[in-house]
Symmetry: C2
Subunit: 297 residues, 2 copies
């Protein structure tokens, strides 16, 4: 039977939110810090990375347990910290995020920086304190810090900021996004595959799925900036063009970007189909396919 | 035979520096980010936390191995990240640190924030990737993120910034510093004791030593701000008074602060003596005593 993404989300997301809020509640030793962390954590967001992790576990019919919610919460906390820091005046200088004032607008820059620091720190606390076994914790910590760190997300953010000063090639653009958004997306899928104890060949296919998912996600984001409805996406559109920023649409045009999106979608689906064939999974529409389809509408 | 702190430091510190620099070299995927991280890591500093960790291992005659250098390097990277972020305009707004321009003065605020983020992230990568066993890694990760996070160092920094707006009581001041500087110092000593596999009773005594060390360290810092030589300590003196900041000297006077420093020194030494008695260690002057004596000159 096909599981529906909407009911899957509404069952699991509250448990992930609970893990995030409880961690903040227990650890934060100052009210203002706690409020600042909470504010950004509950500010909404699609919870894409946690959903990818749990949907991957479901794809392999792996039971979803407390340790997985804790890891999913950690992943979302790291994503949230990166948004708080990216929005700062010294970086993207955004006043609005998901339709609400950004963290530093509400709490001031100092507290926003510290709330970000704390979310990164507490995310890794949560993994180390989780109900997973020690071997898994160490593997996950290592891969997560690789994905989030200067080889991954942070390196991508630096390249993105520096790339604003000149036109990028398509290769350079992909190198930015493979790290800036791709690394955590890939971690989510690989962590789920690792915890489901899949064979190496399957692990590699899942990595391919995740890479293509990540690129498709970024192309969609660039398309929304050109075509999207401000009220719907909760942030200013047309910003990339105003900033003269290289994007998939500026390099390929809207049509070319739509074609590229379709290509990466097809590759992602092909990787999943390959895995289904290997493990003899029925060809029903999995949650992972439903997730990538949300990029295609 | 008594080991001399100076020769101990000159033997071990280069190996800790190497771990830090190699980690940055391998992981940082952008030159500017790498340079910014390197700049603050090699900017000097006493390497107090790494030395406390290794001196604790030496205190228990535990062999010092690569995994310990990796943990020591992680500890110093976390300390370094916290300095970069504390120096930012939105926080302490310091232009000078250890006699050199602060990170954001050289690299700009955006890169300074990201270099700090990356150092925290890479520090935890280094622990997860170290040569320690998995059980130790998980224990250390958990304690380190507790000490560095919003229950520890970050919470202390928030309390410190907010405390600038009003006079603090002595209890409040201690609560700031127990977290802001004390938590990582205590972690260094407790991690060394844990890795040396000491009994619980000894672990608790070592914690007492570390707590008193931490307070003594802060009192000394406050005294230096009043009595110190700018050229010698590499930063502006008299800053606390200018900022109307509560300190040990503002609350107790210089004489009172000196007496308090002596008291915490005595308590720290008493805790060490208790441990020496339990483990039948000769009453020679250990490296830990030499370290705390550096605060007394």
């Amino acid at each position: 039977m096909t599981i529906d993404l909407k009911s899957f989300s509404s069952h699991h997301l509250p448990l992930i939110n609970e893990e995030m809020l409880e961690t903040i509640q227990v650890l934060a030793s100052e009210d203002s810090l706690r409020e600042s962390m909470r504010y950004s954590v509950i500010a909404g967001g699609k919870r894409l990375r946690p959903l990818l992790l749990l949907a991957t576990l479901a794809f392999f019919d792996h039971k979803i347990e407390k340790g997985h919610y804790q890891l999913a919460a950690a992943l979302e906390m790291i994503h949230t910290y990166s948004l708080i820091h990216d929005d700062l005046p010294a970086m993207d200088n955004d006043d609005l995020r998901r339709g609400q004032p950004t963290n530093h607008i509400v709490f001031g820059e100092g507290l926003a920086i510290l709330a970000g620091d704390a979310l990164l720190n507490e995310a890794l606390y949560l993994v180390s304190d989780s109900e997973l076994d020690n071997e898994s914790k160490v593997w996950l910590m290592k891969q997560l810090t690789l994905a989030a760190g200067s080889a991954g997300m942070i390196g991508g953010q630096v390249a993105d900021i520096e790339g604003e000063e000149r036109p990028l090639s398509l290769d350079e653009l992909q190198s930015v996004h493979r790290r800036k958004t791709g690394a955590l997306i890939k971690f989510a899928v690989e962590a789920g595959s690792y915890l489901a104890k899949v064979d190496e060949h399957i692990f590699i296919e899942m990595g391919l799925f995740a890479e293509n998912f990540g690129i498709a996600f970024q192309i969609k984001d660039d398309l929304l900036d050109v075509l999207g409805d401000e009220a719907l996406i909760g942030k200013k559109t047309g910003m990339d063009a105003t900033l003269n920023k290289s994007t998939y649409t500026s390099l390929l045009g809207v049509k070319g970007a739509q074609t590229a999106l379709q290509e990466h979608y097809t590759k992602a689906i092909a990787a999943l189909d390959e895995v289904k064939k290997i493990i003899g999974k029925p060809m029903e529409v999995s949650l992972l396919e439903q997730l990538i389809e949300t990029l295609m509408v």
